[in-house]
């Protein structure tokens, strides 16, 4: 076995252990360890991705020399390696973009705790991406929830603690359902490894046995992961959790944590149940309808919002709706569009959160739109970045958001019966997106006489400006050279089967 095949295992363990190490280090050293680990994991994922692209097939890695039905396994394909690499890039940029705000948001003595949580979050995300075992996935889902909760409440104000409690309650409901679904699945098939479960499920379906428990189990797992990733009716915890936590936390939570759960759901759909069997159930129709409702109601709530951070948070609800709409279409094209939207939304939403903090900082810390008038002149970099992110969210060509909307529309045309609904809602949602994002862009570029707040120059915020530049470049790169990425996603999904 090639040495590179060890890399998924190394990345998970490295980030897990660096978390433990951070607990005894002073804040500065912990920060350095955190950065180095994210870069190291990113590099390893990049090498792994290149290796997998060159060999063209996925591999399975035994965790401790026991063969298939007994041992625990890691599995890596193009999609997994690509996701890991992408998660590392976003996480690094989010941490870099929020670093200058951290001293004001978190008590000095708790800084190294913050880095522990980030490392733990990274390791659980990587484990969710790579694991081939359902129960391991459940355990890491819980670790992910706990570290995400820590990231919300590390800024100790009443709002964040309340948000953390609400987040925990919804997440625990979700993981309870996931665990119950998983136990029923284990009971039906007798396996915990994804590949073995898939074989047994195919046999059960062919024999026509235990149809109802099977559907119940799949439905429970789906609903559990939907609740955890804040699909429309379960999104009540989201605006507070994203709106009041620290900047880096908000960017990481919105772009990575919910995506980790969605990626697990994709793995369950492809590797546990089987794409065709999943599509023959009615569950995809439910996901489709809730996705469409999320697209509209998320945007409507965002329009009503008078707080820029909460507005961006509500926009996430709409974007999660897009992803589930792609699942609901039940075609390969819809799935590709959803996976691309995961990337595009992660790149854009973290950019928006990081840019918004630059704007609120030059408006006396206020998030109200009235105070943000003309903020883009006071902080030019943040203004440009926010505009780029908004254009991407609305779906203007050159930016990544355009490609995902295009892919969704192309996928919708191929689906009979769901075409009209998808296209109409896609249109309405784009208009609604444009209303609240363009409203904000116009607001920050309006000059309203003398402003009471002073501006900042490039020299005051070099690191921040460079981070924003990288975010914009990432967005444009996804938007301009989308075809290689789409090819990679298609190849990765083909490897799942």
């Amino acid at each position: 076995m090639n040495f590179i095949c060890n890399f998924p295992f190394f990345s998970i363990l490295l980030s897990l252990f660096s978390g433990t190490v951070c607990s005894v280090l002073p804040a500065k050293a912990a920060k350095a360890v955190n950065r180095v680990v994210i870069i190291a994991v990113g590099l390893m994922s990049a090498v792994l991705l290149l290796y997998l692209l060159s060999t063209g097939e996925s591999f399975i890695y035994w965790m401790g020399h026991f063969p298939a039905p007994w041992g625990n396994e890691i599995r890596a394909g193009v999609l997994e390696a690509g996701m890991a690499l992408f998660f590392c890039i976003i996480m690094y940029l989010s941490m870099a973009g929020g670093a200058h705000k951290l001293p004001g948001e978190v008590v000095e003595s708790k800084h190294n705790l913050y880095y522990i949580l980030v490392n733990l979050l990274l390791s659980s995300l990587l484990a969710l991406v790579y694991t081939n075992d359902m129960f391991t996935a459940y355990v890491f889902v819980e670790i992910n929830t706990i570290s995400a909760c820590g990231l919300i409440m590390i800024r100790q104000v009443g709002r964040t603690i309340e948000a953390a409690v609400r987040y925990m309650i919804m997440s625990l409901l979700g993981s309870g359902l996931l665990l119950f679904g998983l136990c029923i699945m284990y009971d039906l098939t007798g396996h915990l490894l994804m590949s073995n479960i898939k074989e047994s499920v195919a046999q059960l379906i062919a024999a026509g046995e235990y149809q109802i428990p099977l559907i119940v189990s799949v439905a429970l797992m789906c609903i559990g992961l939907c609740i955890k990733s804040a699909l429309f009716p379960f999104h009540a915890w989201l605006p507070d959790a994203y709106g009041y936590s620290t900047v880096s936390s908000a960017a990481i939570l919105s772009s990575l944590v919910s995506k980790g759960y969605i990626f697990l759901l994709i793995k369950i759909i492809y590797r546990v149940i089987g794409f065709d069997i999943f599509n023959s159930t009615r569950i995809i129709d439910v996901l489709f309808v809730f996705g469409l409702m999320g697209m509209i109601f998320g945007s409507l709530s965002a329009i009503k919002e008078n707080d820029i951070r909460r507005m961006i948070a509500f926009s996430s609800v709409a974007q999660i709706g897009y992803i589930y709409m792609g699942f609901g279409m039940g075609t390969q094209a819809g799935m590709v569009a959803s996976v691309f939207h995961i990337l595009s939304h992660a790149a854009t939403k973290s950019l928006l959160f990081i840019a918004a903090i630059g704007l609120t900082d030059v408006s006396g810390g206020s998030r109200k739109f009235i105070d943000l008038t003309g903020a883009a002149y006071r902080n030019k970099w943040a203004g440009v970045a926010f505009t780029a992110g908004s254009l991407s969210m609305v779906g203007i060509p050159l930016f990544s958001g355009f490609i995902s909307k295009l892919l969704f529309a192309q996928a919708a045309v191929q689906v009979e019966g769901k075409m009209l609904a998808s296209l109409i809602v896609l249109g309405i949602s784009t208009v609604l997106n444009a209303i609240y994002f363009m409203k904000t862009v116009i607001r920050i570029y309006t000059t309203a006489g003398e402003s009471p707040y002073s501006g900042v120059t490039f020299r005051d915020m070099k690191a921040y400006a460079v981070t924003l530049l990288f975010f914009i470049l990432l967005n444009v790169a996804l938007g301009v050279s989308s075809q290689p990425v789409v090819n990679m996603i298609e190849q990765g999904l083909a490897m799942f089967a």
Partner: protein, 124 residues
Amino acid sequence: MGPNLFTNYGEAVSAVLFCIGFTNLLLQTNLIKKIIGLNIMDSAIYLFLAEKGYIAGRVAPIVVNGVTSTEAYINPIPSGLVLTGIVVSVSVTALMLSLTIRLYTRYHTLNLDEISMQLKKEGK
């Protein structure tokens, strides 16, 4: 359906308990009652696993009398899963309790709705 339900009464009970715990966690406004609901929900799943893992007439897979035939023992994996699950639920319970203490020292109530009201009044 009828006879199956009666034979698998343990699983049926665990499903009912799961629903009780789930609704408590979702609908109670008192934080401590929510956490109790969480524990009922998790325990229901462990009951389900234990019920599924047990085979009547067999014993726990610990070799004492030199009997090594697999026919004599139950499947140890569900018990292992229960143990892992208990560890997870203990840690989330601890986290929820610590959050509850934080909220209680700040707002002097365990009612989540009242806390939200107070937060709205603070207006931040």
